[in-house]
Amino acid sequence: MIEPLRKRRPDGRLYERRAEITTLLRDLETLPHNELIRRAQIRSRSDLDYIPSECLLRFVRRSKRDNTDRLFETLFKALLARVEHAATLKNGQHYLPDGRSGFSKYATDVRDYVMDRFLKRLINDRNGYDDGLDYYEVNFAHAVASLRATAKRTSAAEAEKLQPLSTNDDEAVSAEVERAAGSFNPFDRTRFNDGSYRSRLVRAIMKLPVKERQVVVLLLKEYPIESNDPDKPDICTTLGCVEKTVRNRRDRAFAKLRVALLEEEIDV
């Protein structure tokens, strides 16, 4: 019997696990412990016996009060390893001259924040029921991504890792910026469907100053800069600024993205 989740959407409907997860949970329940231990330790997603993190989490939550045996420890550690993996910024790794590798303080802070918050939920859940964990049983990767996004914001602020100096928004963009932005459209559909391009683009957007980044994200989500229909949200209303400011931010951002993407292409 796979117990339903308890978290409800604002409209009252219960969240549900994905169908394939429920089916797999039913199968996994019938496995002997040693087989479950073996499968929990598989680390490659392409392995047919790989257990999705949503399933690991459900087993850990279900046996929260009976957590003394080796099975529980294996499941717990496998689950936390997944959290750590998802919380580790791939570009945060650096290599030392002696060949060892390490992570930047920022990357370590992000990882620790995500692991702390997740662990805190698990501890809460053991002492009762933390329905915040239900999100992770619906889509583990995305729920962890939400923690990671918060961790990045928090860690950047804590480390006083200031955003690049922002420009005066009211100041018109220089002719140089205008030329660089030119007719460049980073969301050009012919390139945008290419996963490698999209990945490089998103990483470049993440490096933009926050105000420019917000404009670009809204453009990415196809928000109009300004809309005459008050029921249709636009970038100006969402960010609370005038059209000229939005256009200036966009132009500066596009100019930077163009350079960043071009540099990467040259590197390749």
Binding site: E73, A81, K90, L122, Y135, H142, A143
Partner: protein, 187 residues
């Protein structure tokens, strides 16, 4: 940000994250219902673009040190009986004890040396918090900085010496010597 509002914000962002789609309509509805999280939602929308692209098959590699630390914390019996929650240290408790809000915040933030609490005060605190005295002492004995991260970020536990006696906390919070005497010695 209090633990409760942190959890609420976290819940909203997780709910957005697990939506099957993150198109304009979904983003719109979250921005409309949670304008206070505009910055967070826009950053998350971008993060999710990357999460979707980056779902390639790469083996899970971990440092295991962080995982072991998490296990040590989880399997420690002290965390198993962590009945007291930060939110329990509220104004009602402050009123019941006759102390200022800044003093209850100091207790909440574990700034006080547990052994500096007179028995009578501990009993009243325990009653006001509706928790057993050993749970109160366990709570106060924890590291004075709330985030669990302290246990990962530092090589050792934070110094116990950073805690202060209850009397000093009350003084620093502006209680008069007469008030302090009443607070400390009433049964």
């Amino acid at each position: 940000m209090s633990e409760a509002s942190k959890n609420n914000a976290e819940d909203t962002l997780a709910a957005f994250a697990i939506e099957p789609l993150h198109d304009k309509a979904i983003l719109d509805s979250y921005l409309r219902n949670h304008p206070e999280l505009t910055d967070e939602l826009l950053d998350l929308a971008l993060e999710l673009e990357l999460a979707d692209i980056g779902a390639e098959d790469e083996p899970v590699t971990t440092s295991s040190a962080a995982v072991d630390a998490a296990w040590a914390l989880f399997s420690n019996p002290a965390t198993a009986k962590s009945i007291l929650k930060t939110e329990q240290f509220n104004m009602q408790v402050a009123k019941a004890l006759g102390i200022k809000s800044s003093a209850i915040a100091g207790l909440r933030d574990r700034k006080v040396q547990p052994d500096s609490l007179p028995t009578g005060f501990l009993a009243r605190l325990s009653k006001a918090l509706k928790s057993p005295t050993d749970a109160v002492l366990d709570y106060l004995s924890g590291p004075s900085h709330l985030p669990l991260g302290a246990s990962f970020k530092a090589d050792g536990r934070p110094e116990a010496s950073s805690k202060i006696p209850l009397e000093q906390l009350l003084r620093e919070c502006g209680h008069t010597p007469e008030e302090i005497s009443i607070i400390l010695h009433s049964e």
